[in-house]
Symmetry: none
Subunit: 229 residues, 2 copies
DNA sequence: CATTTTTAAACCAAATATATACCAATATAT
DNA sequence: ATATATTGGTATATATTTGGTTTAAAAATG
């Protein structure tokens, strides 16, 4: 052990050290921090102090504290993505998705295979089991839209969708979005996902595109609703 | 670092370790992981714990679990890919433009200003003076579509259009494309550009989008015509 | 001095991990 | 083709771990 014994550490000191571990990359996305009781010992502080530090980091959006489970990293270490992606606003993002995803539905009807749709079906089922868990739902939702893009077999489109997914995950908006994801909204999304999938399976490009537009319109509404709060 | 020696491993810890093995490349695409029962022993955890970890990784899209068979790596290690752009085929590009540009027209009607349209008009005029010069025409054409994207005031969309423009300029088939650009085709393009611009000025989003689709269809035809030669 | 922060200990509820047994899908050898 | 072994899927009862909370005393701070 390398001598932390030097000085007494306050809550904000500990927060700073953990924050640094995260942006340095020693702690990566989805990693679980050591339990509060262990951190307390390694930093030579009381559990209550560590707890304050972690709450600070949670407010800053670096970690997510899950009672009974642990504290997890929710922050991507500085990758140098283009400014256009980092600074994209939620509304810009929605307009871009409005451009892409309905047409992606049409292409999916043309190029998608049974296996693609089966995968999307699996994700639908998973999302339907996440009605009470906005975070997991949101993650599965991202995968659903990625799987949809996959089914077009268009590497360029898939790449663009991936870039867009980065916008969604990095921002504070994600947290705000989770707040707007009540059970009713999630159920509505799930119904729309199913309808889209059905339209793809029955090879109805325009119907799939139309439902996708409705889906995005729903999402846009819940977004504006959230920003007015 | 050292001597974490005997820390108990939770599901997310195991998930993190496997995730790192995958992105590091120790586990490659289509590799099969060890059976759950073996992993459980090597990580010193119960099978249920390993199982939870693997399910997490499946949610994240790193692995695919096939009952009775095994668990397989499905993650394309670190795309972040210029590859998707460099290797994009002309048809992939056309499909992507089909997705983006009609909707860009709609957004242009919403957010475009007179100055934007004036700039596009200038480019139209320039293109009309290039009927005999496919290379110059092609350059101006790129600028026209970029100016159209600019008029949406959507930084994300503009960035995507720029990426796509790189595809167009880099590749060999750009040369091929120039071969198909006879005077008749260029005149047709020019007429369509004018029509699009007019629809934007008169604030008719759907008409602008429709003409854009026709424009892209024309381009796609001349593309397939070229590749059959 | 008054105030805030840290410490320390105990307890709670929820989430997770363990251990075991059995089922279902798949692969392999006969 | 059939039988057998291997693999993931599921269920369950129990034990452990984890964050959440409260309280009171000690230490640091201004």
């Amino acid at each position: 052990m390398t001598a932390h014994a030097e000085q007494k550490l306050g809550a904000s000191d500990i927060a700073a050290m953990v924050r640094r571990e995260i942006s340095k990359g020693n702690l990566q996305l989805h990693d679980r921090l050591q339990p509060e009781r262990v951190l307390a010992e390694t930093y030579g502080a009381a559990r209550g102090t560590v707890r304050k530090a972690l709450n600070l980091l949670e407010d800053e959006g670096f970690v997510e504290i899950r009672p009974g489970s642990g504290t997890y990293v929710v922050h991507k270490p500085d990758d140098s993505s283009p400014a256009a992606i980092d600074n994209a606003t939620p509304l810009e993002l929605m307009d871009t998705r409005f451009a892409l995803e309905p047409h992606i539905c049409r292409l999916s009807v043309l190029h998608g295979r049974r296996a693609d749709f089966d995968k999307m079906e699996t994700l639908c089922t998973r999302m339907e089991q996440c009605v009470e868990d906005p975070v997991s739902f949101s993650e599965a939702d991202t995968h659903f839209h990625r799987a949809l893009a996959d089914s077009t077999r268009n590497g360029l489109l898939i790449w663009i969708i991936d870039q867009i997914a980065n916008v969604r995950s990095q921002d504070d908006w994600t947290r705000m979005r989770h707040l707007t994801l009540d059970a009713a909204t999630i159920n509505q999304y799930n119904a729309q996902h199913r309808q889209i999938l059905n339209a793809l399976r029955t090879r109805e490009p325009e119907r799939a595109a139309t439902i996708m537009k409705e889906h995005l319109e729903t999402a846009r509404l819940s977004l504006t609703r959230a920003s007015e709060t």
